[in-house]
C-alpha cells in the first residue's frame, strides 16, 4: 500500500524526472529550491498536470500512465490537496467550503453539512462555520483548507508549501498545529516545501529535488549528515567539497587540496563544519594534520555570540568563530586570512 510516482514532465524549461515513493502512514517532504519542479511534481500526482511519461499509482490503482493510455482525472483520484495560499472559495461560507467535496460527490446537503461541521470541530474552527473565508486568519484558513481536503476521505494528502503564505509570527504556531492535525491522518502524505524547518518538523523522510531531479532521499538526519549537493549543504549550513581522493588527500576540481584522515580513493564528498574551522591572519606554524588555505574575507554575519565569515580563495569556505575571536583579530571584509582545519574534523564519503 503506497504511492508510487515515477514522474516525467516537460514544461517550458523544466525537465522533471523524479521517482517518489510514499509508504502508508508516511510523510515525505519534497524539498528543493524555487523552480526545481516541486509544485509541478505535486500537480502531476494530483492529476492537474498530465504526465508525459512514467506512472502515478496509489495502492493498486494506476492513475496516470501515458504508455498505457491511462489517465484518471483529478476529480476521480483518491487524493486531497492543500494548496499554498489555501484557495478557499471566497463566495462560500467556511462550512460550505468544507462540504464542497462531499456535495460534488452527491452527498445529500444535510449530511454533507453535518460532516463538514464535524471536521471544523476537529480543527477547532466550529465557531467560524458561517463566516466567509476572508474573515479568517492565515492559520485558520489553512486549517479550513486541510479540513476541506480531508473531508473527502482521501488515501493521499498533498500539501503545497502549506506554511509559505504565513507571516513569520504565526508560522511556528501553525506548524505545530499542522503537525498535530497531520498526525491524525493515517494515509500517505506528500509535502512540498523549500524550508528545511518545515521538513524537519513534519516529515518522516525527505527527497531533495533540484532542477527536476531527485538528488538525495533519506531521513532528514541522514541527508543533513551527508549532503550530496551544494543546495543541501547550504540548507544545513555546512561546507561541501567535491573532488577526488588519492593517497589521503582530496583534490578539488579547482586545484585545492584537502588533507583528510582516512578515506577510500575515488570521487568523494567532504563535509567541513563551519565551527571546526579556525581563522588566523598569519599562516599558523602547525602540525602535519592541519589544513591551511589562503583566502580573502567576503562577508561577515554576526549571529548572537558567533559570527559566520565567508572566505573566497582556492577553497571557498564559511567559517564560524566566536565574536571574541572576530574582535581580537579585527577582521573586515577584504582582509587576507588563513583558514585552518584538522584532518580529523573533515568527514569524507564517496560521491
Amino acid at each position: 500500500m503506497s504511492l508510487v510516482a515515477d514522474l516525467s514532465v516537460q514544461l517550458g524549461t523544466l525537465d522533471l524526472q523524479a521517482e517518489l515513493r510514499v509508504a502508508d502512514g508516511e510523510l515525505l517532504a519534497l524539498l528543493g529550491p524555487n523552480g526545481a519542479g516541486k509544485s509541478t511534481a505535486l500537480r502531476a500526482v494530483a492529476g492537474l498536470q498530465p504526465l508525459h511519461g512514467g506512472t502515478v499509482q496509489v495502492d493498486d490503482t494506476v492513475l496516470d500512465q501515458p504508455t498505457a493510455g491511462t489517465f484518471v482525472p483529478p476529480e476521480r483520484r483518491p487524493i486531497g490537496v492543500v494548496f499554498q495560499d489555501h484557495l478557499l472559495f471566497a463566495h462560500m461560507s467556511v462550512v460550505e467550503n468544507v462540504a464542497f467535496g462531499l456535495r460534488a460527490r452527491n452527498t445529500p446537503k444535510a449530511e454533507a453539512r453535518r460532516r463538514a461541521h464535524e471536521w471544523l470541530e476537529r480543527v477547532g474552527l466550529a465557531a467560524t462555520a458561517n463566516d466567509r473565508p476572508s474573515a479568517l486568519s492565515g492559520g485558520q484558513a489553512q486549517r479550513v483548507a486541510l479540513a476541506r481536503a480531508l473531508a473527502i476521505d482521501p488515501r493521499v494528502l498533498l500539501l503545497d508549501e502549506p506554511l509559505a503564505a504565513l507571516d513569520a509570527g504565526t508560522r511556528a504556531m501553525v506548524r505545530r498545529d499542522l503537525r498535530r492535525h497531520l498526525a491524525s491522518f493515517a494515509g500517505m502524505r506528500l509535502l512540498v516545501t523549500h524550508d528545511p524547518v518545515d521538513a524537519y518538523a513534519l516529515a518522516d523522510r525527505v527527497a531533495v529535488l533540484e532542477a527536476g531531479r531527485i538528488v538525495q532521499t533519506g531521513t532528514l538526519a541522514e541527508v543533513a549528515a551527508h549532503p550530496r549537493s551544494r543546495y543541501v549543504a547550504d540548507l544545513v549550513g555546512v561546507n561541501l567539497v567535491t573532488g577526488k581522493v588519492t593517497g589521503g588527500v582530496l583534490h578539488t576540481d579547482r586545484g585545492a587540496q584537502v588533507v583528510i584522515a582516512d578515506a577510500p580513493a575515488g570521487p568523494s564528498f567532504a563535509v567541513i563544519r563551519p565551527h571546526s574551522l579556525t581563522i588566523t591572519r598569519d599562516a599558523p606554524a602547525g602540525a602535519s594534520t592541519r589544513n591551511v588555505w589562503r583566502g580573502v574575507i567576503t562577508d561577515i554575519d554576526r549571529l548572537g555570540e558567533r559570527a559566520r565569515v565567508g572566505v573566497e580563495g582556492e577553497l571557498p569556505l564559511t567559517a564560524e568563530i566566536t565574536l571574541a575571536a572576530l574582535d581580537a583579530l579585527a577582521l573586515r571584509p577584504g582582509d587576507d586570512v588563513h583558514v585552518g582545519a584538522k584532518a580529523t574534523d573533515i568527514e569524507v564519503y564517496p560521491a
Binding site: E75, L87, F100, A104
Partner: protein, 260 residues
Amino acid sequence: MVLVLAAIAVAFFALPLVGLLWRAPWSNAWDYLTTDDALTALRLSLWCSAWSTLASFVLGVPLAWTLARVPFRGNGVVRALCTLSMVLPPVVGGVALFFALGRRGIVGQWLDDWFGIRLPFTTAGVIVAQTFVAMPFLVITVEAALRQMDRRVEDAARTLGASSWYTFRRVTLPAIRPALIAGGVLAWARALGEFGATITFAGNFPGTTQTLPLAIYLSLETNPEAAIVLALLMIAISFAVLVGLRDRWFGRQTRPELSA
C-alpha cells in the same frame, strides 16, 4: 486648464439633456407616455431586450469561456469576428443579417423552406438584430473576468471531486458574478437602445417591430413633443443602469471578489 477642458466636456454631455428637459412638455408628459403607441413600443422594447439579453447569456458565456480557456489557432480572428458588431455601424449589421437570414439569404432561404420560419419584419427578427449588436458587450466583459480569475481555484475544486461542469457552475460562475452582472446589464442596455440593425432587418411595424427608439425617431416627424417624452424615458432608463453599474464597472480593480 485641465479642469476647464473637463468642464467643457461635461457641458458637452449635459447640454443635450438640458435641451430635452427644457423643451419637454411637462404638463401633458404623462399623457404622451401612456398613449397606446408609446406603451406598445415600451412593452415591445422591454420584451425584446429581455429575450436578447437571455440569448446573449446562453450563447455568449460559452463563447467567452471558449475564447478565454480553449487555446486554438485563430483565437484572435474569432474574437474579432464575434465583436465586430460593436464597431460596425448597426445599419451595416442589419443589412448583413438581411442577406444571411432574410427570405433570400443563405440561411434564411432554408429556414423558410424547411421550417416556415421568417425572421425579417418579425418580433423574432428584432430579437436577432438586438442580440447581434448586444452580445459582444457581454462576451468581452465575461472573457476578461475569466482571464483575470485565479484558475487554481478551479484546480482546487477538481481535486475535491468536482467535475468540470460542477466546477464551472459552483466555482467559476460565482467567481465572475460581478462581470456577469456588468456584462448582462451592458448587453441589455445596448439591446434596449438598438436602432439601426432593427430598422434595417426587422422594419418598423407598430406592435411587432417598432421598439422605443424607432417610435421616437418616427414621432419626431409627426409629434415632436411625444418624441421628447419618450427620449427622456430612454435617458432615465440608461442613466439608472449606469448609476447602478458604476461600482462594478468602473471600480473593478478594487473589488476583492474578482481576485479571490
